[in-house]
Amino acid sequence: MTKIFKYTWAILKGMGITLKYFFIKPVTVQYPKEKIKISPRWRGTLKQLKNEKGEEACDGCRICEKICPVNCISMEVYKDEKKNRRFTSSYTVNFGRCMFCGLCVEACPKKCLVHTTDFEFCTYERESLILTKDKILR
């Protein structure tokens, strides 16, 4: 008999705590309707920046390609004799492989490869996870 009382009392005490939270504003976020604020440091998809002249800033040094632990970046480089610098003729990132470690962004000497705060990145086909230069250079 005392046991029943003890167990009931323990349950009531627990219920007391849950009841307290019943009157407090809920902490859950109703996702598609409201969104939480993403930190500016968020490691989302990759983006290449343009320089002040409006042309691509990347000079194809291939450091991001080499440092990537999962080999998801590939590029082709050519040299423009007139401007006396290198350009990339293609720059492809396979986001199906990417693990968003951020090593490429950290290593970029021109600081032209950056993360976006984009996190909604799902598609129906695997092919659309492979982003080419026209989508990355924004």
Binding site: K3, K6, Y7, A10, I11, K13, G14, I17, T18, V27, I38, S39, R41, W42, R43, I67, P69, M99, F100, C101, G102, L103, E106, H115
Partner: protein, 371 residues
């Protein structure tokens, strides 16, 4: 009737538990031999999440291995990062700046709280109490928000670098941690009311799956599991790495080594971690966060074993360098893997209803068991 069963060999039954059982915390497969409701033999079958991390590490640079280390124990990645950077740092004799050391400790201890909160929540579910899960994840979410503001990821942080940390703390981080600690301390009392002292919970856990001191040493347990048996073994005290020797904290221990003791040790550890974080925040001063390290990391040839006290136990990395940019051998001693081995001894003689209580109390993560 029993005679017929015995003669025909049908009395013992083999029961496959998992790998898709929700209470096995992932993809653990338990082969249970049962005599009625009593377990006569238990054999954990692992390997469903094997990714070959140690072999992968031999073909990755030392820096890239930190990113891979996030995937061992994926709910305590900061501790994994810690273990991954200590080895090359010692080989190359890098002195990490003071600020980076304190930042590392704040991160590792916050991660200990986060990992133990997951244990608290999921153990409640294993036993049959659902409410603690929501409360634990509500608090854990705050820690993840703090991590997100620092390193930009919520689970695979990749924050430590050889020689320091990757980014300095943002402005809102220190007040955020202080506010979290202030908010978190009273919650621990709430957890005690909800679960720790609940008589129904205690009936299920007190005296179940006891490990004696000798057994705990024999099976090389570490972390909260060995401390619950009454042995005060903590690498932060025994072999202090980083700047842990500067901090004042206690090591909570249990007495009987049963499920409830293992649970309580973790609950007490959370408040100790909060104490360490408070002390580290006081000592935090502006300064460098990275030592001067060459861009291409080539540790001199040699071998080294470094270990840290991860939330689950002793996480050690034994690495051999041949002087190139990649490790020659990279062996990881995962605490979950070693702690899981004692399950086959503990389960023998228990009822089937206690399997989940015992398995939950040793707190494994399958990502680290299989690697």
């Amino acid at each position: 009737m029993t005679e017929t069963l015995k003669n025909t060999g049908f009395e013992e039954m083999t029961l496959n538990m998992g790998p898709q059982h929700p209470s096995t915390h992932g993809v653990l497969h338990l082969l249970l031999k049962m005599d009625g409701e009593v377990i006569t033999e238990a054999r954990p079958d692992i390997g469903y999440l094997h990714r070959g991390m140690e072999k992968l590490a031999e073909k990755r640079t030392w820096g890239a291995n930190i990113a891979l280390s996030d995937r061992w124990d994926y709910i305590a990645s900061m501790s994994n990062n810690f273990a991954a950077v200590l080895g090359p740092e010692k080989l190359m004799n890098i002195a990490v700046p003071k600020r980076a050391e304190y930042i590392r400790i704040i991160m590792a201890e916050l991660n200990r709280i986060a990992s133990h909160l997951i244990f608290f929540g999921t153990y409640g579910i294993d036993i049959g109490a659902f409410t603690p899960f929501f409360y634990a994840f509500r608090e854990r979410e705050m820690i993840l928000d703090l991590y997100e503001s620092v390193c930009g990821a919520r689970l695979t942080y990749n924050y430590f670098r050889i020689g320091g940390v990757s980014a300095d703390l943002p402005e809102e981080f220190v007040p955020g941690v202080k506010a979290f600690i202030k908010y978190f301390r009273p919650k621990l009392k709430e957890y005690d009311t909800l679960l720790s002292t609940n008589p129904i919970f205690m009936d299920r856990t007190v005296g179940v799956g006891a490990i004696s001191k000798e057994e705990a040493v024999d099976w090389a347990l570490s972390g909260p599991n060995i401390r619950a048996s009454g042995i005060s073994f903590d690498i932060r005290k025994e072999d202090p790495y980083s700047v842990y020797s500067e901090f004042d904290f206690n090591i909570p221990t249990g007495k009987n080594g049963d499920c409830w003791d293992r649970y309580m040790v973790r609950m007490n550890e959370m408040s100790e971690s909060a104490r360490i974080i408070e002390q580290a925040l006081e000592k935090l001063e502006p300064g460098d966060i990275m030592a001067k390290v060459a861009k291409v990391i080539r540790p001199p040839a040699g071998e080294i074993y470094t270990h840290v006290e991860a939330p689950k136990g002793e996480l050690g990395v034994y690495c051999i360098s041949d002087g190139s940019t990649m490790p020659y051998r990279y062996k990881v001693r995962g605490p979950s893997f070693v702690n899981l081995a004692i399950l086959q001894k503990m389960l023998r003689g228990l009822k089937i209803a206690d399997v989940v209580a015992v398995l939950g109390s040793i707190d494994i993560v399958l990502g680290e068991v299989d690697r």
